[in-house]
Each structure stands twice: as structure tokens, then as C-alpha cells.
Symmetry: C2
Subunit: 375 residues, 2 copies
């Protein structure tokens, strides 16, 4: 199984674009990149189109607007892991023998709402509506709780959380399709407003619009999809044994790596889900890049920089490249594909051949992992 | 591939129940029916949980509340065909070899909103938000447009649309899990209020809550899933060549029947998607049960009654058994399973061995078809 083409849009606040226009751009580019004019089925990764755009039935919408009406096409939702989950559905669809070639499109149009409270409420549907959100929790505040415990248990300073966003902004500064193309320093990080104490604005991925797409087919060309894995965890934080472990990340990563027959030590370039600084750190620890509480050192030391021994999110990650929620998992695959075929531009990691992506939904409750390997 | 167990809840306005409680009831019953205590993955068919229940991430929620957190679990959305689409995903998942045994759960909790306009707005997300809903169309009014053209082109009287709901109410009257367990006559049909001229309240499926589940596994026991098929059509009515054809129903049905190696003439019992009377008629015509404009005769004559030559929706269909949107496609499979194993109770069709279900999303824009065969 291979990815034979990818397409993506610039991420940003596209007030002049619609969801369908972004999705069609990414999908058309992916098919053009793959040298094809049609596919046998479409899987759309999206989380919030009902709430934010008054539009469900994205499967029909995209098949229609791609001129492909007739083929099977559905939406897959797994909170912020919707993109990765859609990719796994596409993988199974081809593997099942029912389809030869499928398109996986991730899209999220977050700026159709003028009230930021609406976006916050939509994001909170990833958490437990009855036992978390009902009591006033937002998605940001749940991550702030985790961050507070993390800081206390491992003795991190305020600065320690800044190293990851500072590196991500640096990476994004020369990435053409990134949303936040500017560098920040520690002063700016520490000066950014608290949005849910101790979580600062600069700890959080921005609200943005974007779409990414990949063509999956049973083929010996392109980049091999060497492994996929998914996993779930308890949806609400209060049910978890330890707030500072992400068992679904551990499980999904292990499943994908076992299918690919690799270990994390062999990976040349990583995509982690840094929707919040603390989530980025927990991701790295859960996949074995650092001991618990020590991930910040990887960022501080530059070990995860583009030219470091363990490159992570060389294009700027969710934090600065951008995080159009349901599209993120597909952006990750498109970034890895571009790395492996050597066309990642300024963010290119020298000799990248084995890539790994982890896409995390909710506060770690729904996770998709993918291993891509160059041929 | 087989269905080895099914479970379903009574359909109704369950003001005292939550989405998770309904889904867990159906899923637990299906696993108990199958004699198992766990599965390898879950696929949740649901359309509107974000808008109606403030809850996405149903994959995690259900895995968690079934005590199965850890396994892959995602939500699949294809408007009113979400249930059928989830079943097809489950089919592919097992067929792919990634999973041995999966649970497919359909659920919709429509009565959490106290304002019926909210439900109407949520249902309208199946249509084109920018080119239909923006201009004031509702899901009911789009079906009313189709009904008006149907009546005019084929010369149907008002009574002619009443034959299907009258039969469906009769079928539901002794179905234990049906929502509307009462008979209606032509006088009551004609006396029911116009909700979007010429569409009457009694032409429309009711708003209700419910959940249904099936266990799918590679097995020689149980009921064989002999064929599946999906298809899309243009999402908006104004794009269609002919409003009175449902090409996605034709395509999906043909795909499922070809996979099963059968024709429609061999089918013992049908499940059609009669969300509105005219949709029921168009369904029957699209799968070849009647010539265009003549489906009403099947209902009037009793040919599609339980003891007729072509039994359709013997338990009462969407109209009277009920239509908890994302669950409907799974209810259809559970009804067929119960028919084939001979435990459909009062609605039992004598000697039913081959069943066919068609689950229609939007105004025919996203369709899933399934053929079940007894062993």
C-alpha cells in the first residue's frame, strides 16, 4: 500500500473561502500529484462541520464538487484525530480489496463563526459533554489541568513549556503553507496572555482553516504506508489512572510500529500532536523519545530541531504550521510524504526515509498512528 | 463474513435516557446475543451528536462506556445513511484482515433539544448548506418539492401517498420496539396537518431516539453478509438531472446485489428508507420493485404487506417503527437478521432467507445497501 500523491492548502483564516473550496483544492492537487483523474472512494476526515459550517454529509459534498458523484464517500470523525482515523479507514478500504484507489481528505473550516465562544464550544465536543463540559470545562481548561499537574510533578518552570512553541515557530517561519510564519522568543512566550492558567496563548495551536489530501493505492511506487494503528482511552480525565500518561498514544504507536516491523529508534522524522505544549511533551514521552517529565530538554537542546538527531515537526507542527482540526492528521501524512520524497523545501530533513505520525483526539482519548517508508 | 448477534432499543422519545445509555444498551445486547464479551474495534453510525447532544468523539465515548477503552473506535457520518455506512466500514475492517470481530453501533438521540427548530436545522445539514439551506430550504421542504413533482408527473392523488404510511403504521402496531404503535386509516392520513405542502405530518417519519448494534465477524455461523454497496449523488437537488430518480440508490443496490450474486427478484424481505412517503416510493422504484410512478400500487394492493409476495418493512419502517437517523441503517440490519433467524415475532415473514436493505442519506445523495443471507 502506498501514498502516491498529496495535496494541501495554506493554513490560515480563510474568510473568503468555503469548506468545500479548501477541500476541493487539496483533493485536486493530490490527484494531480498522483497523476490520476479519479478514485474509487473518498474518506473525509472532519470533526466540526455540523457545528461550525452547518454542513454534514461531507462525503456527498466532496464527491459532488470533485466531479466524482457516484463513488462511495463518507465522513470519519474521531475528534482531533479525525484525519488520521480517515486515513486508517482508507487503508482498510484498499486492503479489503473493495477499492483499488481511494482519496483521503482532511478538512476543517473554523473561521465561519464570528464568535470565538462557538469555536471553543465545538472543540469541547471532543470531551465528555455530560461529565466535563456540563460542569464548565473547555478543551483548553482540560489541557491546562494536565499542564498544571505536569509542571508540579516534574518540577518544570514556566520557561520549560516555552521551548517547544519557540522551536515550532522557528520551524514554521520559512514553511510556505504555515499559518504562523513568525519566530517567537522566550520573552514573547512568557508575555503572551494566560488563556487558562497556567496555559498561555503561545502554548496553544491557532484556530485556522485548511485541507490536506492523500491518494492511497495498492502500488509499488510512491511512499509505502508501512503501518497503521489506532487506539482509544477513557474519554473523561477523571476516569484515567494517571493524567500524565497517554495509553492510547502508546498503544496506537506500538500497533503501527509493529505492523511496520520497526522501532521508534529507526524513525528519521516524527510528526507529533502539539495542540498544546504539554500535549507535545506527553506525545514525545509516550512514543519513547524521552523519559516522563524530560521532553522539554529535547526542545531546549535542539535535539528535535530539523538538524538534530530526532527531528520533530520540522515544518512547525500544530503550534505554528497550524491545526485545522480534522485536517491535521492528513497534513501530517502529507508533510512526511514530502520529507521522504525530498521536496519538503526549507524544512527538509536530510535523508529522511522513515516517518512516523501520531494524531491525537480529545485529551488523548482517540489516537491514530501511521508509519510511512520510502522505497 | 457474518452478523453473529444483534441488539436494539425501543425507539421513542427517551427524555430520561442519554445517547450513551441507549448505545450501550444496544451494543451490550448485540455482544450478549453473539455470546462474546469484547470486540476488536467499533464503528459508530451517527449523524447529529455534535449539534443535538454537544458530543462528538462517540468512538471514544462508546469504547469507554462499554468497558473496551483501548480498541480502535470511530464515528462514521453519511447523513441519514450513517448507520449503513458504518456497517460497510465494519465490513471492510474485517475483510481487510486488520480485525477479526467488530461492533457496529448506530445511535441518534434527537430529543435532547427542546426546540423542534433545532432538530430541523440539524437534519438540514444533510442538504447543501450554502445553496439549499441558506435560501431557506429545510429537509422536509426539499422532500415536499420532490413529492409535488412526483404527484404531477405521475398523476397521483392525495390518497395515493397515504397507502404506504397506512401500511407502515399497521405493521408497527404489533412491533414491540416501534415508536408509533397505532394504526391509521385514510381519514386520519388526510386529516393530518400539512407540514410542507403537499407533504403531511403522516408522510414523515417521527423524531425519535434509539440505538441498534450488530456484531460482524469472519465466521461460518450467523447470517451471511453477502453483499455491500455504497454510492453518492449530487448533494443539491438543483444539480440533479431528474428529481424523480435516485441514481445513488440504483448504484448502491446494484453493487451490493452483484457482490452477493443475486437479483432483486430473489429477495424475500426488503428494508427501504421511507423517511417520507415519496422517498419510500422512489426507493422501491429505484431497486426495481415498480415502474416509475407505480410504487403506490404495491402499497394499496398489499403486495408489500407482510404476507404479500414482496414484503417491505414488515416491522413498520422508518415511518412507524421509527427513524433515529444514524441508527436507522443498523436497525434495518437487525430487523433483517431477526427475520432470517426466525425471531421477528409478529412481523415475521414466512421463510425469509434473503434480505436486502437500502439506507438513504440526504435527498438520495449518500446511500448504503446490504444483502443478508441465511445459511
Amino acid at each position: 500500500m502506498s501514498i502516491t500523491g498529496v495535496g494541501l492548502t495554506k493554513i490560515g483564516q480563510h474568510w473568503d473561502r468555503s469548506l468545500r473550496s479548501l477541500a476541493v483544492e487539496a483533493a485536486s492537487r493530490a490527484m494531480e500529484d498522483s497523476g490520476i483523474e479519479g478514485v474509487d472512494a473518498i474518506f473525509v476526515g472532519n470533526m466540526m462541520s455540523g457545528l461550525l459550517n452547518g454542513q454534514e454529509n461531507l462525503g456527498s459534498l466532496l464527491a459532488d464538487y470533485l466531479g466524482l458523484a457516484g463513488i462511495p464517500s463518507v465522513k470519519v470523525e474521531a475528534a482531533c484525530a479525525s484525519g488520521g482515523a480517515a486515513a486508517v479507514q482508507g487503508f482498510m478500504a484498499v486492503k479489503s480489496g473493495l477499492f483499488r484507489r481511494v482519496l483521503v481528505v482532511g478538512v476543517e473550516k473554523m473561521t465561519d463563526m464570528t464568535d470565538s465562544e462557538d469555536v471553543s464550544a465545538a472543540l469541547a465536543t471532543a470531551a465528555d459533554a455530560e461529565y466535563e463540559v456540563f460542569y464548565g470545562a473547555t478543551f483548553v481548561s482540560l489541557n491546562a489541568l494536565i499542564m498544571r499537574l505536569y509542571a508540579r510533578r516534574y518540577g518544570l518552570s514556566e520557561e520549560d513549556f516555552g521551548y517547544l512553541p519557540i522551536l515550532m515557530h522557528s520551524n514554521a517561519s520559512d514553511t510556505p503553507h504555515a499559518q504562523l510564519r513568525f519566530k517567537i522568543d522566550m520573552e514573547r512566550y512568557l508575555g503572551s496572555p494566560m488563556i487558562s492558567d497556567p496555559l498561555r496563548l503561545m502554548d496553544a495551536a491557532p484556530v485556522g482553516d485548511g485541507a490536506a489530501a492523500v491518494v492511497l493505492e495498492g502500488s509499488d511506487s510512491g511512499v509505502e504506508v508501512a503501518g497503521v494503528g489506532m487506539a482509544t482511552d477513557q474519554i473523561a480525565l477523571h476516569s484515567r489512572g494517571d493524567l500524565l500518561r497517554l495509553p492510547a498514544v502508546e498503544l496506537a504507536a506500538r500497533r503501527a510500529m509493529e505492523m511496520a516491523g520497526i522501532t521508534q529508534k529507526e524513525v528519521d522524522v516524527f510528526q507529533i500532536h502539539d495542540a498544546f505544549s504539554v500535549m507535545g511533551y506527553l506525545n514525545m514521552e509516550s512514543i519513547g523519545l524521552a523519559e516522563p517529565g524530560r521532553a522539554y530538554i529535547l526542545a531546549e537542546s535542539g535535539e528535535i530541531a530539523r538538524d538534530g538527531p530526532v527531528p520533530v515537526n520540522p515544518e512547525g507542527g500544530l503550534k505554528a504550521r497550524g491545526h485545522p482540526v480534522g485536517a491535521t492528521g492528513i497534513y501530517q501524512l502529507a508533510e512526511l510524504y514530502n520529507q521522504i520524497v525530498g521536496r519538503a523545501g526549507p524544512s527538509q530533513v536530510e535523508g529522511a526515509k522513515l516517518g512516523f505520525a501520531i494524531n491525537v483526539g480529545g485529551t488523548g482519548s482517540n489516537v491514530a498512528a501511521v508509519v510511512l517508508r520510502g522505497r
